[in-house]
């Protein structure tokens, strides 16, 4: 799950989780944040909901799925990056929702997890197709910015050009920032920077 791994085409069946406002405390409860690394988080993704044997991730049909189809406003709440770490560790590469919380979206993009934002009717169609046949395969083509439905119908999704480039080419955002050192130093000089912690901006 290197954050600098290139994002390839995703061709997979999908896990339906039609719950709105899934917060990051559900994706990974706080008691599992007591880690100083990123390993082993696949075991604890949706830990509390997985106590229900019928929870969708416990079903054999969910095994190997790379796409999660969720309700509105996915990833709200805590800023914990452990949430995308855990989703990626489980095997997800794409989350489909009608809306993503801002911090979750940022965190996901830095970890090779693609937030695919679509209209509610697309989510409904996906859920119906999965209900009909849990092995239904969907395609996500980031280069073309399309989610391809089983009927072959392409659904375009938005992503900003920079995030797309980072995912497709494995561009390292910190490398990009470090490349601006001269501009950062000039910015500080321009502000007459030589002040202690938290000098006024």
């Amino acid at each position: 799950m290197s954050e600098r791994e290139k994002f390839g085409e995703v061709l997979s069946h999908a896990v339906p989780l039609a719950v709105d406002n899934i917060d990051t405390d559900q994706i990974i409860p706080a008691r599992f944040l007591r880690v100083t690394h990123k390993d082993g988080l696949a075991e604890v993704v949706f830990s509390d909901w997985r106590k229900d044997p019928d929870f969708v991730l416990n079903r054999p049909t969910s095994a190997g799925a790379k796409i999660l189809v969720a309700g509105d406003n996915f990833g709200c709440g805590s800023s914990r990056e452990h949430a995308p770490w855990a989703l990626v560790a489980w095997g997800f590469r794409v989350v489909v929702s009608t809306r993503f919380a801002d911090i979750f979206r940022n965190n996901a993009l830095k970890n090779g997890l693609l937030p695919v934002q679509v209209e509610a009717k697309v989510v409904q169609k996906m859920l119906a197709a999965i209900a009909d046949d849990p092995t239904t395969v969907f395609e996500v083509d980031l280069q073309r910015q399309v989610l391809v439905m089983p009927t072959g119908e392409p659904v375009r999704f938005p992503i900003d050009a920079f995030s797309k480039k980072c995912l497709l080419e494995g561009v390292d955002e910190l490398g990009y920032l470090l490349g601006h050192e001269a501009a950062i130093a000039a910015f500080e000089a321009r502000r007459g920077e030589a002040q202690p912690a938290g000098a006024s901006g």
Partner: protein
Amino acid sequence: MSEAVAGAAPRTLLDKIWDAHVVVTEPGCPSVLYVDLHLVHEVTSPQAFSGLRARGIGVRRPDRTLATMDHITPTRGGLATLDAESMKMVAALERGAAEFGIPLYRLGERGNGIVHVMGPELGATRPGMTIVCGDSHTSTHGAFGALAFGIGTSEVEHVLATQCLLQRKPKAFEVRVDGRLAPGVSGKDLILAVIAKLGIGGGTGSVFEFRGEAISALSMEARMTVCNMSIEAGARAGLIAPDAKTWEFLRGRPLAPKGEEFEAMVAAGSDLKSDEGATFEGGSIVLDGWTIAPMITWGTNPGMGMAIDASVPDPATMADPGAKAMAEKALKYMGFEGGQPLLGKAIDVVFIGSCTNSRLSDLQAAADIVRGKKVADGVRMLVVPGSVNIKREAEALGLDRIFMDAGAEWRDAGCSMCIAMNGDLVPPGQLAVSTSNRNFEGRQGPGSRTLLASPATAAASAVRGAVADPREVA
């Protein structure tokens, strides 16, 4: 500090702070945004320190970085009581701070406390700044007219390494509260009312600017409570333009500028407000302060709030299928029935604390209600001050005695039962009235059930042993 340019388009407070911090924006790329203050804690930093080591780079501006331990730290008995797992996290922070030269406020030291209580208390949080932290409640600092927002651990690493972040500009969203708050109604009630109106995702992509007479009338502590929970409506940040109260709060704080430098900061800060006619692209709502009642949540997200004397909404009457499904799921988890009141409902736990409501005025509001009374039989009440300093100030005022005489537990500073990482938790199935910020399933411990409310409501409920209206428990 920028001056208004003749003929230039009017700008929002967000525009002004944003513009003053953009290092560069390349075509097709997000902006490189300069960060004035980076706050660090033990839960979201270890992997960022590891990332720096892996690259062989250091922290660019340790003098713009402050660290505390708060999330997993015990509120009784000190670090010696930590288990091995938690101790490793504290050790990782200690090691990172020492290795990279970051000032660290250790557990129990003066200055230590919940990260969002600590920054303002030290005077490190100041108007016009950009402030980030690997914690969504960084929005708290917006009460000082600083653009402050939560980030993930990758971004923590970015800021440590470069003092900058790659960011796209959010939209300014006006939240105007006219009139005054009625007696017995607090900043917490105000923000719970805002979140109930907008819903948990209503502020996504936006930064709230709170304004209006009711906001001006709030104390700095109440303003922090309001900005703190902006994220609970999905907004990245909350902002309140600085005024005389802001400067008075900061004057004399340990890390605030002194003398002429302070006066220069005040003078420069006079432009830190939205210009007349500035456009709020994200939207705008107006509330009437007088109509806000003490609030309480009934469900499993902070947007599921209502006036304390109202009845829990009945999903059967909801037209929107999404809202209905959410309400049904929430009520099933909470064990409540639609159409029933919460007043009088027996409770098990009361928690006074968290970055939302653990400041001195919060503790005073709770103490005013429990003074001379007893916490009801069968109810556990935990009072956790937000910082070492607040604990000392409260003890100097005798608040600790008031709480302990009533039968409450008086603890050391930390996040405690809000995030339930340190052993302070609400047992499965128990019902808590909590002054914290999230009532998500299991937030205060696996199976815990949380009702969010103000310190006054929480204290009144502790005394009654049931959900109570603070206006009726004087």
